[in-house]
Amino acid sequence: MASLSSVTRTPAWPPGLAQHADVWRAAELGSHSLPALDTGYAPLNQVLPGGGWPQGALVEMLQPQAGLHEWGLLAPALAAVQAAAPAKLVVLVGAPWLPFGPALGARQLNMQRVLCVHSQGPALLWATREALQCADVAAVLAWLPDARSAHLRRLQMAAHAHSQLLFVFRPLRAQLESSPAPLRLLVEGAAAEEGKLRVHVLKRRGPPLAAPLLLATRPARLTALLAASRERVRRRREEAGGLVPRLQPTPAAVAVASGEVHALLDRIANIHHH
């Protein structure tokens, strides 16, 4: 009766089908049957099925170079995981560089509970799987440039069996390969957009995402510092009538600074206070 009076765009589910979390409409976002973890970014939560990072599924992230955008995107979620289970470890497998504790500590990560595993080739996959099987591990971050689809399938099964958070970082060339990951993202920096992060959702349970997301992942202080520097350059340029294109430390300034008694001259802080 109701359907006759008003044309509803989403007709009711056939009985018995609505309970299945694995069934979703092509035009709607699927609801994950897995528990989801808040990503810390509201726009990202909205486009992910279940409203966050799926726990117990492989999340694949493609990026042009390893070591560019991982922490900005994941730090809020990892900090939340560590806050919820302080005794559990976060395992990094094959990290491209050394994670820098002072900066990550500022993002509320407990570095004492981070384990870093270095290796090459098949041992990386083995270490990832071992870490997934460990009951004391809260999340696994793996950089697997050479992993093939079959390897990832095994990791996906391990993550599912042990209900672990698993993020795998791969280069852009993996975009054309098939992947068993239920969620695939492509992450790139948007230099023109004040250093925001551009996130394409390549694959998810739901319709393809039309436009990429822009996320401001930088810490507020860093953003403020960069804005202040930019402002300062602009002012200088105005004062100099556009003759000095960039901020350069003049030789005179350096000479003064080297005569300073203090070992540490934090000029960045000065800029920030202006």
Binding site: A87, V91, C134, D136, R267
Partner: protein, 478 residues
């Protein structure tokens, strides 16, 4: 009232003879039985246990028998063997043994009256079975009815003595089994082994008896040494060995077995190996071992490995230096602010559960408060292990194309009095240089995001040709 149990175990699967022979099997069962009572004796083919003092602790005879059988079955199943356990119970050791033997011939006779036990179930009567049969003595009772003097004259005093012991009028004179302080066992391999991983089959046999020894001593192993004896005809050292250590005393040897397998997988044998020996180096008594093995909580926790096991396993295969944990340092130079150390050396700190973390919390908190200045969002999240020297075009550095300076400089005195001692000589590259001043800048690259780059200059005025700035990439803002 005294209470004895007689046990006899045989392995029914194919793996039986390969895992351990008859005598080793009996010893193993006896070690396991030591977990229930200290009075265990090996008599002929059976293991005899005096459980009189243990009944109350384990909640009665039925419960104790059940636990004992359960422990035995669990042990053998973990070694992929199915045991056949026969047991009998009696008021003295010889009654229990007699019933066990009687039940072996006629199943279902485990509760025969003592008086009706046939003569052959008494060890002391075995030399005289023919004569006893002919004079009509078929059961113990028949013999006891005969005049003692005549029996003593005809069959010797031993038979009467054995009967008295069986009736409980004489005390038992068993030699109680005592497990040695250290486990040491050597086995000959079935065939010469030339391949490291193939030693695992032999090692598993040794580990099975080590497991039984640990259960008997109610302790856990912390360190052990596996030695392989090489063929003497080759011109190599006669033995090779390895030590395996675990951070937590383990009674369940699955983790230790995997560690040994990892080590053996990397082992190269210079000559064929003919025998293996295993020695326990450090063991620790487990206070509540009896309770722990049957605890439901423990079973629940074994859904996954613990952090300690993970670290030890990763370190065993990849090498201890490849698995790293973080340690903060109080220093103003970025590369000295943190140290990534081998996780195995810091294992207690990392794997210490929430309890330890909480206990240390107060102190740690103060320490980290003191170093709170080091936590700063203006640092990059990735640090290069060694600063990377960048090429320069004109006055500015180049990394994957031209760079745009966004912020800086931030000046750090990178050396000075701190560097004069230990670090000045041993470092390489940047670190070995004498007192230098660094100006840190944030640069933006089209491809690589935000970079943390410093230019280094010496504080003393340099000649003109050395005035060129050196640019180093030190981190990424990811």
């Amino acid at each position: 009232m005294p209470c004895w149990i007689a046990l006899q175990t045989s392995i029914t699967t194919e793996a039986g003879p390969a895992l351990m022979d008859e005598a080793a099997l009996q010893r193993t069962v006896a070690s396991l039985a030591l977990g229930f009572t200290p009075r265990v004796a090996l008599v002929d083919e059976a293991v005899l246990l005096d459980v009189t003092g243990s009944l109350r602790l384990f909640g009665g005879l039925a419960r104790l028998m059940q636990l004992l059988a359960q422990r035995l079955i669990e042990f053998f199943e973990s070694n992929r063997a199915v045991p056949l356990i026969r047991r009998a119970q009696g008021a003295t050791s010889l009654i229990a043994l007699g019933r066990l033997r009687h039940a072996a011939g006629k199943p279902g006779q485990g509760r025969t009256r003592v008086a009706d036990l046939p003569m052959h179930t008494l060890t002391a009567a075995r030399p005289h079975l023919g004569v006893l049969e002919r004079i009509g003595c078929r059961s113990w009772d028949d013999l006891l009815r005969l005049p003692r003097d005549g029996v003593a004259r005809r069959f010797g005093a031993e038979l009467l003595e054995a009967l008295d012991r069986a009736r409980g009028s004489l005390p038992d004179n068993h030699v109680w089994l005592v497990l040695p302080e250290h486990f040491e066992e050597k086995i000959e391999l079935n065939a010469l082994v030339t391949h490291g991983p193939a030693l695992m089959a032999g090692a598993e046999r040794l580990l099975a008896s080590l497991h039984a020894w640990l259960l008997g001593r109610q302790s856990g192993i912390c360190a052990l040494r596996l030695t392989w004896h090489l063929d003497k005809r080759r011109d190599v050292a006669p033995t090779g060995e390895m030590e395996v250590r675990t951070a937590q005393p383990a009674q369940d040897l699955r983790h230790v077995t995997r560690l040994i397998a990892e080590h053996l997988a990397q082992q190269k044998l210079p000559a064929p190996v003919h025998s293996l020996s295993l020695r326990s180096l450090v063991t620790e008594p487990l206070v509540d071992a009896a309770a722990a093995t049957t605890s439901l909580l423990l079973e629940a926790r074994q859904q996954g490995d613990s952090a300690v096991e993970l670290i030890e396993r990763l370190s065993a295969r990849l090498g201890p230096a490849q698995v790293q944990a973080w340690q903060p340092c109080a220093d103003h130079r970025p590369e000295q602010m943190q140290r990534w150390v081998s996780a195995q050396s810091a294992i207690q700190l990392i794997a210490g559960g929430a309890r330890q973390t909480r206990a240390r919390g107060q102190k740690c908190f103060k320490k980290s408060e003191a170093g709170a200045a080091r936590v700063d969002t203006l640092y990059p999240t990735w640090l290069l292990p060694e600063p990377l020297r960048l090429a320069a075009v004109g006055d500015s550095p180049v990394y994957q194309g031209p760079l745009l300076r966004l912020a800086g400089p931030q000046r750090l005195e990178a050396s000075g009095w701190l560097m004069t001692g230990e670090a000045a000589g041993d470092g390489t590259g940047v670190r070995s240089k004498p007192a230098a001043i660094r100006d840190y800048f944030i640069y933006r690259s089209q491809q690589a995001g935000l970079l943390w780059i410093f230019s280094e200059r010496l504080p003393v005025p340099q000649p003109a040709h050395a005035q060129r700035q050196a640019w180093y990439l030190h981190g990424f803002f990811a």
